[in-house]
């Protein structure tokens, strides 16, 4: 018997029960689409984070010391180490900005203008200009803080005076400070240790004056070349012992890569559970179908169809469900993968601040912007899973059909 004929018979049998077949295919589609769409999100987020870390440059080391801030003495000491080219100090404070009755969370970074370029990799401004290194409180504001949630228009413009409330600072620091906006950043999305979209950058000297302190939260250390990064980290550990926390973006990226991989496996695994549910559905429906078609199977046997012909036809019906479901699932999964980031960034993470009447601004700290990444391997794996599970689910019903006694099958009412 020709394989194409068995395929044709299987296809015709499936097309007889269109609604039943559609529902079976849909159950496979949901599983495959979920795997493709969810793993695309985790991989997209991961790649976005990793690339932003890598934008800091392979020669960068982020340094902080546990239990205390870093001082000018630390800068001098680290600068004196072999293979250290530059040390960029950073001050960090959490704050909130009141705009039109709504409160937006923000992080204020005090950093030199050159340091800002280093941290962001490429300084992209949509309006205004970067600040000079001065003690004047000029600010470069993150895109999300400066943009209206509803109209998507800029609501903060260069030259505007911005009032910022400092949260949890020392008593010596004013709870409210004013700054003049010098520039508005373009959208950056997720970055490594700084989220530019939800940050306000001011000159280091101005930050020292405003926050009335001489210590820094972290130092960005630039090695003379990427190959020297490991030796500089080793020197730092030798000098500071176990209290120092020194990591290169490459190391962080590698760690993130592992975390993202584990997240992908977890989410993919959860999505794969729906495929198992689909398999049970196919198994159940195939058993029902075989029972319904008992007389048909008896007729085919009377006409000379062998056990293996019946077995092959039922398995092929399962295979076709898997193939259709797999293909449609991949297509829908890819479409869903590109739609999900919009849903996530517009909906899920944009709840209004507690106590604020209008949901105009959300907590910007939670805002995520990334491009999903469709991993061809995951596409192939999810498709193959759909096919394998569908075929496995039809094995027992097919075996039962093949083993039917033709006389009894023909008598079946």
């Amino acid at each position: 018997m020709r394989v194409l004929d068995v395929f044709r018979l299987a296809f015709k049998a499936l097309s007889t029960h269109k609604i039943r077949t559609t529902l079976l295919v849909l159950s496979v589609v949901v599983g495959v689409a979920a795997i493709v769409a969810l793993t695309a999100q985790t991989e997209g987020v991961g790649r976005s984070i990793i690339s932003s870390f890598q934008s800091l440059g392979p020669d960068t080391i982020i340094v902080n010391v546990m239990g205390r801030g870093l001082t000018e003495a630390d800068i001098a000491l680290i600068s004196s180490l072999e293979n250290v080219r530059e040390v960029i100090p950073v001050i960090r404070e959490t704050a909130s900005v009141n705009l039109g009755g709504s409160t937006v969370n923000a992080v204020i970074y005090g950093i030199s203008s050159d340091g800002l370029k280093d941290v962001l990799g490429d300084l992209k401004l949509i309006d205004g200009s970067p600040y000079p290194d001065a003690s004047v409180p000029l600010a470069v504001v993150g895109n999300q803080i400066a943009t209206s949630n509803t109209t998507n228009q800029l609501i903060i413009l260069p030259g505007q005076v911005l009032t910022v409330s400092i949260r949890g600072g020392p008593a010596s620091v004013a709870s409210s400070i004013t700054m003049i906006v010098s520039g508005i950043l373009d959208k950056y999305g997720i970055t490594g240790f700084i989220s530019p979209d939800t940050s306000i950058f001011i000159p280091l000297q101005a930050a020292q004056q405003i926050f009335n302190r001489r210590w820094f939260n972290m130092l960005i250390v630039k090695a003379s070349d990427p190959n020297s990064v490991d030796s500089v980290i080793e020197d730092l550990r030798n000098v500071y012992g176990g209290t120092i926390n020194a990591m290169s973006p490459t190391q962080i990226a590698q760690t993130m890569q592992n975390v993202v991989l584990q997240m992908s496996i977890l989410l993919g695994g959860i999505a794969a559970i729906s495929l198992i549910a689909a398999a049970l559905g196919i198994f159940n429906m195939m058993l029902v179908t075989v029972t319904e078609r008992t007389r048909e199977i008896g007729t085919l046997k009377a006409l000379g169809f062998k056990n293996r012909h019946i077995l092959t036809q039922i398995i092929l019906e399962g295979l076709l469900i898997g193939l259709f479901g797999g293909v449609a699932g991949v297509v829908i999964g890819i479409a869903a993968a590109y739609m999900l980031p919009n849903i996530v960034t517009r909906g899920l993470f944009r709840a209004p601040m507690p106590g604020v009447g209008r949901a105009q601004y959300a907590s910007p700290v939670l805002r995520i912007s990334y491009a999903p990444y469709i991993n061809p391997f995951m596409v192939v794996v999810s498709f193959a899973l759909a096919v394998v599970i569908s075929v496995l689910s039809s094995l027992y019903p097919a075996w039962r059909a093949a083993k039917m006694d033709p006389v009894r099958a023909l008598r079946y009412e």
């Binding site: 018997m1 020709r2 004929d5 018979l9 015709k12 049998a13 097309s15 007889t16 007389r295 048909e296 008896g298 007729t299 085919l300 046997k301 009377a302 006409l303 000379g304 169809f305 062998k306 056990n307 012909h309 006694d405 033709p406 006389v407 023909l410």
Partner: protein, 224 residues
């Protein structure tokens, strides 16, 4: 052509045994039209199923052209049914999701005949019994009499030597029943062997020989 030697068929339901055939011995000659008659439960269907290699006897032997069927595997029996035999059932048993032509092509599919040749042969066989307008219809779109003629065409698809019909007129009106019996007579005249189980004694007029069964045993053989 077919010899039945002391065939018993016993069905078991739990521990209770129901003998359907009790030591039947008979032969079917090549090219004859044999009718098997008898009351319900006399073992007619059991006998035709065993003659058609669809079922195995509990005891005894069926010899088809000097080959004992007990020696053949299930696959070999399926091959025998496909190449040498054609079946017509009371319940017709056409596949309702296939067209009339596709139903007739089914036995040829097993032989691996290419679609174009299959189609030509199916049209050739069907044209004998039905107008072309019915060929592309589904079984449920044609009458019962037409459906039974499609089933006869399907039985003839692989040009078999033997046609086995189990109550083929049971679901037909008398006019259609006569038509079907006439077709079988024509097929017999072409040299095919016809074995037909029937309740309708009128149809036995078309047969060469009538075997009467009662309680699983042959009680009468009438040569016409």
């Amino acid at each position: 052509m077919i010899e039945v030697v002391n065939v018993w068929k016993v069905y078991r339901v739990g521990k209770v045994e129901y003998p359907a055939l009790r030591g039947v011995t008979m032969s079917v000659e090549k090219g004859e039209f044999l009718c098997i008659v008898g009351p319900s439960g006399s073992g007619k269907s059991s006998l035709i199923n065993i003659l058609g290699a669809m079922d195995r006897p509990t005891k005894g032997e069926v010899i088809f052209e000097k080959v004992p069927l007990s020696k053949l595997s299930d696959d070999k029996l399926a091959e025998l049914r496909n190449r040498r035999m054609g079946f017509v059932f009371q319940t017709i048993n056409l596949l309702n999701h296939l067209t009339v032509l596709e139903n007739v092509e089914l036995p040829m599919m097993v032989l691996g005949i290419p679609p174009k040749k299959r189609r030509e042969r199916a049209i050739e066989v069907l044209s004998r019994f039905l107008p072309e307008s019915t060929f592309y219809k589904k079984p449920l779109e044609i009458s019962g009499g037409e459906q039974q003629r499609v089933a006869i065409a399907r039985a003839l698809a692989n040009n078999p030597d033997v046609i086995l019909a189990d109550e083929p007129t049971g679901n037909l009106d008398s006019a259609n029943a006569q038509q079907v019996a006439k077709i079988f007579r024509e097929l017999r005249d072409e040299g095919r062997t016809i074995i037909m189980v029937t309740h309708n004694l009128e149809l036995t007029n078309y047969a060469d020989r009538v075997v009467r069964l009662r309680d699983g045993q042959i009680v009468e053989v009438v040569k016409k």
